[in-house]
């Protein structure tokens, strides 16, 4: 009993180890007096369970998830393979600034899988910030004039130092603006020297989104000086130094309303538009796809160039159908090229009208409007072509169509292509056939019923066998078993047992348990010789010995002895 208890305790211990949840807190950087303190929380748990409801002193805390890391470990102890997967999540939250001194933060708790887990309390020291004239930062937004929605600007942070230092904490909100701007591209970093300072410059390209005045938060950086030791190691030289850059505001100005065209889509620069037909022909049937190439050329920010079709084609919507998803253009030879699919809705369409493209030139502070030339096309209605095919080319008025009627097969193919479903069509379905694909789960009842019937047959078979064996002498039962024996070995065994039992029954001598004890006279002598031969052949493992022949001989001997009085 004690042993069993030990095993259970051991199992519970390992189970506990396998699914342990760990919560840890630490302060990010060195807390400075009067400044918000960033606290990092690390939670390790099994990936299958969720963590929720963080609390400190029974008050809920809002945490920001920074990242998740997965860890796997594999151990083989005494040949037993154990794999442990864990998910380590790192969160951050901030607490208000404190005065100089040592402070304690109560343990944070989290609910994981219905159970609450606690970290240790966190003790940290708040220092008075130390500033140095040899270490400062500079933040600004680099623009080329006024910022309009869509303008691309660089948010820049420069760190000036005159000594080698380790960075302890950096907080540059302008490199990751929350509102008003969107990051475009990777952050760039370069280092250079200026006026005795080593300057590290970080630049994040961003794009202005909506007009408004946006605040770029104050930037902070904490460093600690170091000098190189005798063995090349870095020896830190306190105190921690702090540098700050104040928050500042950036204004995104709205586009001027005066002279703003309806179809202006936000392009910044001075652009011109040109259109041409990309389809190999200019004759189409109603519903055919017409591919049109649109080329935007000029100077400016090509990333802001897009074709807002609903604006460009507002007058065309009743003549053409086109996708409401703006086409994505490609830069080819310093031009932006778009391909647009249009489908004419009627045979009345004679041309793809001009397209007007508007852009805003921030240098000139005015709108630039460019128009393309209309593209003439010929749209044929499917039904109108039938009679013309029969009568020949005479009724087709347009010269291009006349040319086409010379290629009757080609036109027929075009006719078939127009409005023809491209995918395999589906025929109508009847109400009765609606659930034809529904599985007939009832059929599976065959399995338990069949198993029941097999069990019943098995019981029946056993009962019949038992009934047959009842009242029959053992020699007879063994003879029957020999007949049904599955292997040669069993067959020989049952034959021998049957004949020895028969001798027992006939001689009324229960002491006969082997053929060696059979009397060497009459039929018993014959039986003894037969069994001797059988045993000899059996143990010499003579496969050539015919079981059929042995069965016949054994059967005749059995019947002969049975008949004797």
């Amino acid at each position: 009993m004690v042993k069993v208890c030990h095993v259970w305790i051991g199992l519970l211990f390992f189970w506990h180890l396998g699914f342990a949840v760990h919560v840890q807190m630490e302060v990010e950087g060195t807390p400075m007096a009067g400044q918000p303190i960033q606290v990092l929380v690390t939670l390790e748990r099994s990936p299958e369970v969720e963590a929720k409801h963080f609390e400190i002193d029974d008050h809920p805390v809002q945490l920001e998830l920074l990242y998740n890391t997965r860890q796997s470990s594999l151990s083989i102890i005494n040949g037993v393979r154990k794999e442990k997967n864990s998910l380590i999540s790192t969160y951050r939250f901030s607490i208000p600034g404190k005065i100089k001194g040592i402070h304690t933060l109560s343990p944070i708790s989290v609910e994981v899988d219905g159970k609450r887990y606690y970290s240790n309390a966190l003790t940290y020291e708040v220092e008075t910030p130390v500033f140095s004239k040899d270490f400062f930062i500079e933040t600004y937004v680099k623009t080329h004039g006024v910022i309009y929605p869509g303008s691309k600007v660089d948010c820049i942070v420069r760190i000036f130092t005159k000594f080698p230092c380790q960075f302890l904490r950096m907080d540059f909100p302008l490199l990751d603006p929350a509102t008003g701007f969107k990051k475009v591209g990777q952050e760039r970093q370069r280092t250079y020297t200026r006026e005795g300072y080593t300057v590290m410059e970080k630049a994040q390209p961003v794009r202005a989104l909506e007009p408004g005045v946006y605040s770029m938060g104050a930037s902070h950086i904490e460093v600690i000086r170091y000098r190189m030791g005798s063995f090349g190691e870095q020896i830190q030289q306190p105190p921690t130094l702090l540098a700050e850059a104040p928050s500042f505001e950036v204004t995104i100005r709205p586009f001027p309303e005066m002279g703003k065209p309806d179809f202006f889509g936000g392009a910044l620069g001075d652009f011109t538009i040109r259109t041409e037909l990309a389809s190999p022909t200019d004759t189409f049937f109603v519903g055919d796809k017409i591919e049109m190439k649109v080329v935007i050329d000029g100077s400016g920010d090509f990333d802001t160039v897009n074709l807002a079709l609903e604006k460009l084609y507002s007058g065309l919507a009743r003549h053409f159908r086109f996708s409401d998803i703006p086409p994505s253009g490609d830069m080819i030879d310093r031009k932006k090229v778009f391909y647009i699919d249009l489908r004419p809705l009627s045979a009345e369409v004679k041309e793809i009208p001009e397209l007007a493209f508007a852009s805003f030139d921030p240098e000139q502070e005015k709108y630039v409007i460019s128009r393309s030339d209309p593209i003439p096309i010929h749209v044929l209605l499917e039904n109108t072509l039938e009679p013309s095919l029969e009568k020949g080319a005479a009724e087709l008025t347009h010269p291009k169509q006349e040319e086409k009627t010379n290629h009757k097969e080609e036109i027929e193919q075009m006719q078939k292509a127009a409005f023809q479903i491209k995918v395999a069509p589906a025929s109508p379905i009847a109400l009765q056939a609606l659930n034809n694909d529904r599985p007939r789960w009832n059929l599976l009842w065959i399995i338990p019923i069949g198993l029941g019937v097999v069990a019943f047959q098995l019981a029946l078979y056993q009962a019949i066998k038992k009934k047959h064996a009842k009242g029959k002498p053992p020699s007879y039962v063994y003879m029957k078993r020999a007949k049904r024996a599955q292997s040669r070995e069993a067959f020989f065994g049952f034959i021998e047992k049957s004949l020895v039992k028969l001798a027992q029954e006939k001689l009324h001598d229960a002491s006969i348990i082997s053929f060696h004890q059979l009397p060497p006279v009459g039929s018993y002598r014959e039986l003894r010789i037969f069994l001797q031969e059988l045993e000899k052949n059996r143990y010499q493992n003579q496969k050539s010995l015919s079981t059929k022949k042995i069965w016949q001989e054994a059967k005749s001997l059995y019947q002969k002895i049975k008949r004797e009085k």
Partner: protein, 260 residues
């Protein structure tokens, strides 16, 4: 008859005309829906075609949601294709194939559509799922039928072996039993083991957590029409967890994913 059974019986009798009416409304929706579909196919004007397909969609979509018909989803896929709502067309073809993997037209249309939309179907199932090949090519209905009838064969040989005790019957019984177990395991895997799949309907970003305030996992939005695996058990409000081989797991808004 007990007293409480009388009102129940009367209630059931009253329900009968309603059930019949429901059948009639489905039948009408089917008739009119397919008529509109046919009309759309034969339309000579694009506007007329659009109107017909829209009507067909309006009538057939509710019917498809309440029955199990691969053929009906094929039709819906075709309608969505004609209306150029390609992600929905892809989803409908996948649904048709989910119900009946033997639906050749749906398979052909899906292949054509994926090629047209330049969507590369990615096979991201666990390697052991390839063991259950049969469930990929047979419908559940076919699987149930084959498993049931093949059990009769196993049962027959088990009985023969029991009564006649012939060695070859025993071998036959064991061979059939192994085959039957494989077939049954395919059905069990299909019903309980196979991952839930979905199709991206709208361009969407995968996020680290269930909310817009969580970081994006992917730089570019998931393209509509892509197939994903849905981890149903990890749902949080309107956010569900999906899996992609290249990006791993992440949260997306459930409205942007269509269940297959």
């Amino acid at each position: 008859m007990n007293h409480w059974k009388i009102p129940v019986f009367l209630f059931c009798v009253c329900l009968l005309p309603h059930v019949h009416a429901l059948d009639l409304s489905i039948e009408n929706a089917l008739k009119e829906g397919y008529a509109a579909y046919e009309k759309g196919l034969k339309a000579s004007q694009l506007q007329e075609q659009q109107r017909s397909f829209q009507l067909a969609l309006k009538l057939l979509q509710p019917v498809a949601n309440n029955c199990v018909s691969s053929h009906l989803f094929l039709t819906l896929g075709n309608i969505y294709y004609q209306l150029e709502q390609y992600p929905w067309a892809i989803l409908s073809y996948y649904r048709a194939l989910h119900i009946n993997p033997g639906n050749r037209a749906a398979r052909q249309n899906l292949k054509q559509l994926l090629e047209e939309q330049k969507i590369i179907p990615i096979d991201f199932y666990p390697f052991w799922s390839h063991f259950f090949v049969w469930q990929k090519i047979s419908s559940v209905k076919q699987m149930v039928m084959v498993i049931s009838y093949s059990f009769l064969l196993v049962f027959f040989f088990a009985s023969l072996w029991l009564w006649l005790k012939k060695e070859w019957m025993k071998k036959f019984f064991f061979a059939l039993s192994i085959i039957w177990i494989y077939l049954a395991s395919n059905l069990i895997y299909h019903q309980y083991g196979a991952p839930t799949e979905g199709v991206v309907i709208q361009p969407t970003f995968m996020r680290l957590g269930p909310g817009d305030n969580y970081a994006k996992i992917n730089t570019y939005a998931l393209s509509p029409g892509s197939k994903v695996i849905i981890e149903e058990e990890k749902r949080e409000g309107d956010w569900i967890v999906i899996q992609l081989p290249s990006l791993g797991a992440g949260y997306v808004l459930q409205d942007s994913i269509g269940w297959i």
